[in-house]
């Protein structure tokens, strides 16, 4: 039997009368990389928020690493990390204090050396005692990457992680993703077709709260994919 890391069945989410997700079903193998595309308002971020325990689904089942998300979210939280366009960092704490704060909440062993290692990796060691509010957007996002990885999560959710990054920060993020690719499972929401299709093992297009395309990378026919993507994005414009 294949090692399924994320299994989603009949996932629905309503905000009042607005149905944002209308029944999502998919599964992702351990070590897989799912790229999620779609127009604004398609439900991509809502899906990631549900998978990362930030939102409760209206209906449906989500199992992560064999654990029911609704029944027992705490063990799941220890396994997941989220990098989004929001850095989730306190501006009036310095870089070290931010990482330490989250590290303590996640009960990270040997926290100080983990902080050193991550600050080195995101090239912020020399700014470790500077307040985050003094950082540029690219530096803040690099620190956000370190924050998301502080507890060595095995599953990473990336919600448009490249937005606002300067080319150097993009290189650092891509390098990090490369380094940890083998031992992690990824779900990435992106509008960047090239990056998303290059990195993924599976690709999904969400439109109007439904999956309109879902295929393994090797089975993807670029023309068909782009036609469906353009159709869904045009729908957003009209």
């Amino acid at each position: 039997m294949e090692d399924i890391e994320i299994k989603v069945s009949g996932l629905k989410k309503d905000f009042g009368r607005r149905k944002v997700l209308k029944g999502i079903d998919f599964s992702l193998k351990k070590g897989g990389f799912l790229s999620v595309f779609g127009p604004n308002g398609a439900g991509k971020t809502t899906m990631v928020k549900i998978l990362s325990t930030l939102e409760a689904p209206t209906k449906g089942d989500v199992t992560i690493a064999g654990i029911d998300l609704m029944a027992d979210p705490i063990p799941i939280k220890k396994k997941i990390g989220l990098i989004s366009h929001n850095p989730l960092l306190y501006g009036d704490l310095n870089a070290h204090e931010n990482l330490r704060f989250y590290g303590v909440l996640y009960k990270v062993d040997d926290l100080e050396s983990r902080i050193d290692e991550l600050l080195d990796r995101v090239e912020l060691s020399n700014r470790r005692y500077d307040y985050v509010r003094t950082f540029s957007q690219g530096m803040t996002q690099r620190l956000a990457i370190a924050r998301a990885l502080i507890h060595k999560p095995s599953i990473l959710f990336l919600d448009e992680p490249h937005i606002g990054l300067d080319p150097h920060a993009v290189d650092i993020l891509d390098g990090l993703l490369d380094d940890i690719r083998a031992e992690h499972t990824f779900v990435m929401v992106t509008h960047n077709l090239e990056k998303g299709l290059t990195l993924c093992s599976q690709a999904m297009i969400l439109d109007g709260g439904k999956i309109v395309f879902f295929e393994e990378k090797n089975d993807i026919k670029r023309n068909k994919f782009e036609a469906i993507y353009k159709k869904s994005v045009k729908g957003e414009v009209v």
């Binding site: 220890k78 997941i80 929001n86 989730l88 306190y90 501006g91 009036d92 303590v104 009960k107 924050r147």
Partner: protein
């Protein structure tokens, strides 16, 4: 790591942020001092004597000061989406509530530690120092009640556009029993010597106030998981 150390981690972060920015404490302090000066001019411009109704005036000032602070209590979490960072962490959401109650309690207490002596020296003509333990107990329980229900209501309103309006609208009716009991305690102690009947009334008010605090805290603690992040 125990629940206590998780609460301490979040509380310590709130205290550090407030010490660095002083956004909440300075606005609360200025507001409470201004209120007291206005009270003095309104009620006793020539005599500087508010002994008879000092307790009531004090708590009017404190309740609005507390609302000012409560509205700011999640400000750092809203900036940069840090509330999501907290909700992502593998901790019981009720512990977030407990740490926020404690930080709101501490900030209001700091304001009171500074302003009550000033208010007493300038406006109270009766020496209530012999009853100071009972007085402090009343202030402590009043603060705890306001912080307990205030933190819960603030969380309910956190994701709404009009949260500055919602916190007083939802919070004040729920805080009324706390206020009534706190005014009974502080007012009677500040106003003059306590006779046996008044002392009995004050002790009774302390007991009921403690009961309200327990009910408000336990109910909010139990319901917190359903309101935060939704």
């Amino acid at each position: 790591m125990t629940s206590f150390s998780q609460i301490w981690t979040i509380l310590k972060k709130d205290l550090i942020l407030e010490l660095r920015t002083r956004e909440m404490l300075i606005s609360m302090f200025l507001f409470v001092m201004l209120t007291m000066v206005i009270f003095n001019y309104s009620f006793s411009a020539d005599r500087n004597d508010l002994t008879a109704f000092g307790g009531g005036l004090l708590w009017i000032a404190f309740i609005f000061t507390a609302l000012l602070g409560l509205n700011r209590s999640f400000a750092h979490e809203k900036e940069g989406g840090c509330l999501d960072g907290l909700l992502l962490s593998p901790i019981d959401r009720s512990l977030i509530y407990t740490s926020k109650v404690l930080s709101n309690f501490i900030f209001l207490s700091i304001i009171q530690i500074i302003t009550i002596p000033i208010f007493t020296i300038f406006f109270i003509r009766y020496n209530y120092f012999p009853m100071i333990v009972l007085f402090i107990l009343g202030i402590f329980l009043g603060n705890l009640g306001i912080a307990s229900i205030g933190t819960f209501v603030t969380t309910l309103a956190i994701n709404t556009k009009r949260r500055d309006l919602l916190v007083p609208i939802l919070g004040l009716p729920l805080m009324m029993p706390i206020l009534w009991l706190a005014v009974t305690i502080s007012g009677n102690i500040m106003a003059g010597p306590l006779g046996p009947n008044t002392l009995k009334e004050v002790v009774r008010a302390v007991q009921i106030l403690a009961l309200f605090d327990i009910v408000y805290f336990v109910a909010s603690y139990g319901l917190y998981d359903f309101v935060i992040g939704e």
